[in-house]
């Protein structure tokens, strides 16, 4: 059960490729793989912590005000993540700029709180959130890698394209984010269909 909760976030309910949630950071920060990774990890931290807290207080929350309460809890963890990055990973925090505070409005997190953590036990909520967080990170790193390789000729800062390779500037522009995301969602679906065909 717990393993199922974890694994579904990686593939069948992947927040980016299947649910298409949290598009603002997905599109905005994935110009480089390292930004995708750090944004993914920060989001994972927030979704795991807030899911655990929300799940453990779920019986005390009056239904009418659950959204504002969830939002306050999420905002607390986002601020914690933001300050932690600023204190310990100053360079990355500078590069991500306003997108770390903006995790508050990432619908992936409120979505997990509303759809899962507010109804399930702490253990299941933890693994559900962890799966979603890892799935989100995985998607952002792939997106960031593709855009960095084609847009800057590097991956995680290491040059891998040949000398004289012309950077595809469009890939680091917003348009490149949409193009890459669209193609990746397509690829994801093709693989998914092939796998399903094989197993049936």
């Amino acid at each position: 059960m717990v393993i199922k909760d974890f694994v579904k976030g990686l593939w069948h309910e992947n927040p980016v490729f299947i649910q298409v949630l949290g598009m603002c950071p997905t599109l905005a920060v994935t110009t480089k793989a390292v930004f995708g990774l750090s944004m993914g990890l920060a989001t994972t931290f927030v979704v795991v912590c807030s899911s655990v807290v929300i799940s453990s207080i779920r019986k005390l929350v009056p239904a009418q005000v659950r959204i504002p309460m969830f939002t306050v809890i999420i905002a607390t963890f986002v601020t914690a993540a933001d300050y932690f990055l600023k204190a310990n990973f100053f360079e990355i925090s500078k590069a991500l700029g306003p997108y770390v505070p903006l995790i508050v409005v990432n619908c992936l997190i409120l979505g997990r709180a509303e759809a899962f953590a507010s109804k399930q036990g702490v253990g299941r909520s933890f693994f559900d959130a962890l799966g979603m967080g890892v799935g989100f990170t995985f998607a952002l790193v792939i997106l960031g890698s593709v855009r960095e390789i084609l847009g800057a000729g590097t991956i995680f800062g290491y040059r891998i394209m040949w000398q004289g390779f012309t950077n595809w500037i469009v890939m680091v522009l917003p348009a490149g984010a949409f193009i890459t995301l669209g193609l990746l969602v397509g690829v994801f679906n093709v693989i998914d269909k092939a796998v399903q065909k094989k197993s049936s």
Partner: protein, 191 residues
Amino acid sequence: MGNNFLAKIFNNEIVRIIFALVLVGVLSGAVLVFIYNYSMPKIKVNIQKETEKAINTIFPGAASNSPTKDKGVYSVKDSTGKVIGYAFIAEGNGYQGLIKLLAGADAKISILKGIEVLESSETPGLGAEINTESFQKQFVGLPLTHDIEYVKNQKPEKPYQIEAITGATISSRAVVNILNGKINEIKKTLK
């Protein structure tokens, strides 16, 4: 009777809602105080280190620096105590938010020694390229007798020109404008 009264109040839905909201707010506030106390000293050290590092990058021969009476302007001295230039913080609006620069000029404020970006929230991959060395080294040695200008998609022809970043003209222009504004200001105050 007193207990009855309390129970009545607590069974009231509105009271329960207010209580829950206040409680979650107070607890979050308390958690944030701890986080703030833990991280703020570290963040301050980071910012200070960054300013020091920026000054030392712009002035390789710098031995010490001290704030002048103008806020955000530092006089930079070499090991003999001679003033070799001035470092100054200049900030203004970029494409998406504040851009904070540290720039250095020689003692006569006639040549720009270089710039470093301390803070910016420009678009990653585009405007954020103002953080790269290749953009910043264009400013080294620019004469300050003329306002700095930028050109697009071509090599600079005049000594006081720099080439704007492709796809990020607004950010490049912001850097140039912020510098020009501050340089004209300190030219007046330091002379």
